[in-house]
Assembly symmetry: C2
Homo-oligomer: 487 residues x 2
């Protein structure tokens, strides 16, 4: 007798969604999660590839289903689904590489061998805004499986039917690839999510979404008898800085690029540049306003709650002293929203923390700075963020070095002459930054190192070969990298 | 007008100790901590060696001073001071090695370069029981400096005069080696410690000690505007298991070894084996009692508080149903304590969490198990701990493999045919385990990987060479390991 619904953001109408999971179903998912720690990296890499192949074969059907629930448009969703399959294949490559095990053989007296072991069942809370990239088959699920951890995924209420379809596809692919049943399960509903985080069998939580949601899970996990790590990657205000040389050489392209970046996907990116700092007297605030008005972005927000929070957020920015520079019309049906760009002063930024709270959706602030001293004073007050950017006058721009250094203090990724919205998947990526961008600043939720979240090291002292984990054996049957230290 | 005192555990008498730091002194220490992130690993390795040399040159004087405050005896303290100097030299080797930077150059489109950067000033709270190994110049201080983080150390009230002497020695050595002033400072007093953890300039906390102390700092840090990581390594009940073959082949040596290990340093080791699980019918509980009585350990506890908590803890174990097997006399002056071994049943362990709370001091439990099923049922209920041990019948013991696997689920280090009390310093060490052994199970406070606690990764996207951190430059002037990924 479920009342769960799946909503169409374009109209606000709904159809039935999968029923909320019962407490017994949540417990069964956790208690039935198999121990994957003894399964070879090669085998688990094959599982990820099997899921990737299944996803690749169904991109059109799944993108269409996603579009009914999130209204981000077929081109974006088809591309995202394809990139999600690519990410699964990349994590298969990472799994095979084996350097994440950090296997170390220290032939001292005593002999110490150290390897990273999987934490155990991981609860995954995906995001609304990337139904593929940060959804049921997104980075958290892929890297947990890569680490050897089974996953219990909480479906996001913004796309429950897609979540169910993705989980079914993955379950079938895993079964066909020979994975034990229960390695990937899905639960639905708010209560199910709460039960998951408190379940004694859950060993870690991965979350992508809002500050409010992430911190609530982090607090809940801290109340457990056995506290477990919560890797929450949360929306922040990401700052972009234009140098005087940058403004002089390509103000027009910067204005257009910024307007395009902060309204991409209707501003529903955790890497949205929410604040642009520009040299005073360059006219850049007006040019950004013109760029927005010249190509008004159209679209819908993901949920009714997000649409309401956006309205509130824009009002709060104005209440905190931000002035509207430009605003373009909203879609008139469903959960439309008016894109907007607002201006603030450097002084306001330094004194008003309300201006540095994330407003999820197509809004951004522009502030002028007088000189490098005022700019760096503003930068020193920035809270942690996922990414920052510099728009420079080129490699010889004298402001570039000090700015990259200053920005790196507050974020996980610094971009030069680009925008933070795109997040490439590779060995060099870092998606996570100082508090409050993530609850654990040393971790990333995208890229090869994301696997590390779901591992912990164990040392084996004078343990005979017969009782050692496979990755630490001298005959190295998995062929993983081993650091051998002679004494 | 300080009333701070330094106590002699042998007599309970006291002499004046350094005054408690004022709030202004704490703020000056944090605000004056220099940015070390641009200083080469080679240079910082030299700083650690300079401290090691200074410590080596003063071992006798400092061990004598330590003995006045902690009464652990000159042989132990001289050895510990020497090993602390050795650890500093090992961390210099780790610093030079540079693999901890995890420098990665991913030549994709966009180009992403990723490196670990120091978090910033670290607050170090050392332990009472290892005034050298986990004191002012212990693992936390050494690895923070290795990572490029300045340290502000809170002196432990059990050894304030030694703490001051060690800090002065290190300050002089650092100055002579050309380190910027303020890279290592010391504060005294409970209020100073509290102010340190809440200071906006502190980027991480390292703590070694009791559950109560560690969790209090962890909670305090979680209340900050910008929450920071707390790496608390806390005392736990470490379990040792004797297999039937082990009991059959060398029961006498096991009994003697266990009694020696749990009373070493008057039981004041975080790696003390607090629980011995033995096969029923082997007489091992009585043999442990005989071993304790045959060579009664003599000594003092570190502080009046620890002595009082020990008495309370032993009483609580008895109240929870443990039965005294043997007890030996306490020193009659100062903070003496009666060593004791108690017996419990496997059933009591599975149902009474009070029996699995750490009691710091020379006490341990022995429990008999009927068969492998009962043993593994007990092991499944164990809380996280730093280390566990198996006393086996040799490499062919059929119980060994399953036991190592089961024990590894709950701890950071598994030892075969040894005791957990010794903690070697090297590339393969892991000193830290699942909650509540540490607040962050993926980290270690001893060994090469301990450096990782004080770093976080930053990705640099399309950043020109002139603005890159040194470790990520193609010309690699520091000569650090770089993972280069071609696309």
């Amino acid at each position: 007798m479920s009342t769960a619904r799946s909503f169409d953001p374009r109209t606000g109408t709904s159809v039935p969604a999968p029923a909320e999971s019962t407490a017994a179903e949540v417990d069964a998912a956790v208690d039935g999660a198999p121990d994957l720690s003894g399964i070879s990296p090669e085998t688990r890499a094959g599982w990820l590839e099997a899921i990737a192949d299944a996803l690749s074969g169904e991109v059109d059907r799944l993108a269409a289903l996603a579009d009914e629930e999130v209204a981000l448009g077929l081109p974006r969703l088809t591309g995202e689904a394809g990139r999600a399959a690519g990410a699964l294949r990349f994590y298969a490559e990472v799994t095979r590489d084996g350097s994440w095990l950090d296997a170390t053989i220290d032939r001292g007296q005593p002999e110490l061998r150290r390897v990273r072991v999987p934490l155990g069942p991981v609860a995954v809370f995906g995001a609304s805004n990337f139904p593929f990239g940060f959804g049921v088959l997104g980075h958290d699920t892929a890297t947990a499986l890569a680490a050897g951890c089974p996953v219990v995924i909480k479906a996001h209420p913004a796309h429950p039917r897609l979540s169910a379809a993705l989980a079914a596809l993955a379950r079938d692919a895993l079964a066909a690839a020979g994975a034990p049943s229960g390695a990937l399960t899905l639960v639905h509903g708010y209560a199910a999510g709460g039960r998951l985080v408190s379940h004694p069998g859950i060993a870690a939580v991965a979350f992508t979404g809002s500050q409010r949601g992430g911190l609530a899970l982090w607090r809940q996990a801290a109340e457990r008898d056995r506290v477990i790590p919560v890797f929450a990657e949360m929306g922040t205000v990401n700052t972009a800085v234009v140098t005087p040389a940058g403004a002089a050489s390509r103000a027009g392209r910067i204005a257009t690029g910024f307007a395009g970046s902060f309204t991409l996907g209707m501003g529903q990116f955790c890497t949205k540049p929410g604040l642009l700092l520009v040299p005073a007297g360059t006219g850049l605030p007006d040019r950004v306003a013109e760029a927005l008005t010249a190509a008004p972005p159209r679209g819908w927000l993901l949920t009714e709650q997000i649409a309401a929070a956006y309205e509130t957020g824009v009002r709060e920015l104005r209440d905190a002293g931000a002035r509207v520079l430009a605003r373009t019309p909203a879609e008139t049906t469903g959960w439309g929203a008016e894109p907007a760009v607002l201006s603030v002063t450097a002084e306001q930024l330094r004194t008003g923390p309300a201006l540095l709270a994330e407003c999820f959706g197509p809004v951004a602030l522009v502030a002028e700075y007088r000189d490098a001293a005022e700019l760096h004073a503003v930068l020193a007050t920035l809270p942690g963020s996922l990414a920052t950017a510099v728009q420079s006058g080129g490699p010889d721009d004298p402001d570039l070095g000090p700015l990259v250094t200053a920005l790196a203090r507050h974020c996980g990724r610094v971009i030069v002459d680009g925008w933070p919205t795109g997040v490439a998947v590779g060995w060099g990526q870092q998606h996570g930054g100082p508090w409050p961008a993530t609850t654990s600043p040393a971790h990333t939720s995208v890229g090869a190192a994301a696997v590390q979240r779901f591992l912990r090291p164990v040392a084996y002292q004078d343990v005979p070969a017969s009782a050692l984990p496979t990755a630490l054996r001298d005959d190295n049957p998995w062929g993983v990298p081993q650091r051998v230290v002679a004494r």
